[in-house]
């Protein structure tokens, strides 16, 4: 692997995987703390009709209308869940289940009936994404990383994810204190006039945006893994929320890089002739990080607790 092929073929894929992991991983911290871990999973189902409608209206797989559609779909679902929970007097989990399956079914129906199915929105794509298809043929050397006009030729999915990541970092930085408060004590937040429902809804909208942006590149399996694994790993390593966010970001990016190389070089090293999905491998590496943390974490790890019990 020489420098130019690395830049042209591997680098954009690594960027895609790492950026997707980073954005989802950061937001995942608050989902895990609010015991909404499966929200990422659910949201990636809910947004499907929004994505399809965005596609049908504009006729392109361009990201902006799709993301708008997805955001609107996420908002409608949050509203519907509240409505069903109140009118039907059922527990939130049941209300979520009803809304998510219905929205996903509506999305599939739209997809089948409208003929959008053949274009870009097929099942395999939805599950695994197409990380490997990202290329940057204009690159001729590492110097190009500093040249804006050549950087502009990076695949649009990379720039889109970069923009979404910036938005996510800004969201978490600006609303860090509010997110922390409503995740810990929503009732108290309301007595301060900091609406827990408003902050919670904003979080879900950002989750939807992150899910849609990442979905196209890495597929829904990795999206779900990335909402949970880095945050859950980081949660085991520290008792400070700030530190937890940094660790989760590190785990997310490291999973993106290591996962890609494991998929690219792993089969060769093992001497088997087969190809491995990079997105899948990234999720596997994130899972490994989590396993190691469960075993070795300073206070919450299995070994640390064993040692404590013995003393």
């Amino acid at each position: 692997m020489d420098a130019i092929t690395f830049l042209q073929f591997d680098f954009p894929s690594i960027l895609l995987g790492s950026l997707a992991a980073l954005g989802c991983g950061l937001l995942g911290n608050f989902l895990v703390l609010r015991r909404q871990s499966l929200m990422g999973d659910a949201i990636s189902h809910v947004v499907l009709p929004g994505i399809v409608l965005g596609f049908l209206v504009t006729g392109t797989v361009d990201s902006l209308p799709m993301m708008l559609g997805a955001g609107v779909a996420a908002l409608i679902s949050v509203g519907l869940i509240e409505l069903i929970r109140r009118l039907g007097r059922v527990e939130p989990g049941a209300a979520m289940g009803v809304v998510f399956t219905s929205m996903f079914a509506a999305g599939v129906l739209l997809l089948e009936q409208s003929g959008a199915g053949g274009v870009h929105l097929d099942v395999e794509h939805a599950l695994y994404g197409n990380l490997e298809s990202a290329v940057w043929l204009e690159a001729t050397g590492f110097g190009d990383l500093l040249r804006p006009e050549i950087l502009a030729d990076l695949p649009v999915s990379v720039t889109r994810l970069a923009v979404v990541n910036l938005a996510i970092v800004a969201f978490v930085a600006l609303l860090y204190k509010e997110l922390k408060l409503v995740s810990f004590d929503p009732l108290f937040a309301d007595t301060l006039g900091i609406s827990s429902r408003l902050v919670g809804t904003l979080l879900i909208v950002m989750v939807a945006v992150a899910a849609v942006a990442a979905f196209d590149a890495v597929g829904s399996i990795l999206v779900i893994a990335m909402f949970i694994c880095p945050a859950a790993t980081a949660r085991l390593m520290t008792d400070r929320l700030g530190t937890q966010l940094w660790i989760s970001a590190g785990v997310a990016v490291a999973s993106g890089i290591l996962g890609y190389f494991a998929a690219a070089l792993g089969p060769q090293l093992l001497g088997v002739d087969m190809s491995v999905s990079a997105a899948g491998m990234i999720a596997v590496v994130a899972g490994l990080f989590q396993t190691v943390a469960m075993l070795l974490a300073p206070r919450y790890g299995v070994l640390a607790r064993r040692r404590l019990q013995r003393v």
Binding site: K177, K180, F184, D185, L187, F188, L192, R240, L241, Q244
Partner: protein, 278 residues
């Protein structure tokens, strides 16, 4: 501001007979009139009315399931109500958030949350700090001073899950103190705490009283009511009676509120305790 949604003339007459206000007192730190709350169509609070006396410590007592916590939460507009009006010094609750501090029940949050004692106390300042801005050095200093007031300065960097129940309660108290409000609503701060914490809470209550604050405390230990509080509100689905402890904390009102749940000897002893103090 007449309450016109009270159903049935009988209730109205009953209210009048009890000599209770059914008009919001604009001067009261916290006035509640005709408050009715139901969970899943089952009424928990029925037509509760109360006007908190300014600068006094009021105990809210009543049997389990009497709606004491619900009364606090509904007064704070945290849960929907079927009817009723609430005012804080004549203003609606939504416009008076800065005047009211709330100490929730300790069991209402997850203490495994990655936060230190200082982090939690700083949350009491979030309203003053304002949206989008981060707490600064001054805010942390103020939070540290509040921890000192409850004797917890040595634990400011401790993760909240590593604190004892009493220490967690004191952290909640310090968070409310940081708010520098005029009215304090506390939900069972004395529940299951150690002696050191009980003393710390009493000290804080005295301090608030000396500063002219109005404090309402949901309390379950009847024996300490005459000891710690100047006023009492008896609650059982509705407001049974309220007033100064010396006049209102009587065997008759206890009997009315708790029914057969208190033995006659207990009632007599509690009545004596109240009289001795009066």
């Amino acid at each position: 501001m007449k309450i016109d949604h009270v159903s049935g003339g009988a209730t109205k007459i009953a209210l009048a007979e009890a000599g209770r206000r059914d008009v919001l007192d604009p001067g009261s730190p916290l006035a509640v009139a005709g408050l009715t709350v139901a969970y899943d169509r089952k009424p928990v609070l029925w037509n509760a009315s109360f006007s908190a006396p300014e600068g006094e410590l009021t105990a809210i007592v009543g049997p389990n399931g009497a709606g004491k916590s619900t009364f606090l939460k509904a007064s704070l507009s945290l849960i929907p109500r079927l009817s009723g009006e609430i005012s804080v010094y004549g203003k609606p609750m939504e416009a008076a958030r800065g005047d009211v501090a709330y100490v929730p029940q300790r069991s209402s949050v997850d203490w495994d949350f990655p936060a230190t004692a200082l982090d939690v106390v700083t949350m009491g300042l979030y309203r003053q700090i304002g949206w989008f801005r981060w707490p600064g050095r001054k805010d942390r200093e103020r939070a540290r001073a509040m921890l000192e007031l409850v004797g917890m300065e040595a634990f400011s960097d401790r993760q909240i899950g590593q604190l004892s129940g009493g220490q967690q309660q004191r952290v909640f108290l310090a968070r409310a103190l940081a708010q520098d409000a005029r009215v304090y609503l506390m939900d069972e701060p004395f529940a299951g705490v150690d002696a050191a914490t009980e003393r710390a809470i009493v000290d804080v209550l005295r301090k608030l009283l000396a500063e002219g604050k109005t404090v309402l405390v949901v309390h379950h230990d009847l024996e300490t009511v005459p000891l710690y509080f100047s006023h009492v509100l008896f609650l059982n689905a509705g407001t049974v009676a309220s007033g100064p402890v010396t006049e209102t904390f009587t065997a008759e009102n206890l009997q009315k509120t708790y029914g057969g749940r208190l033995a006659a000897t207990q009632l007599a002893a509690l009545g004596e305790a109240a009289k001795v103090r009066g």
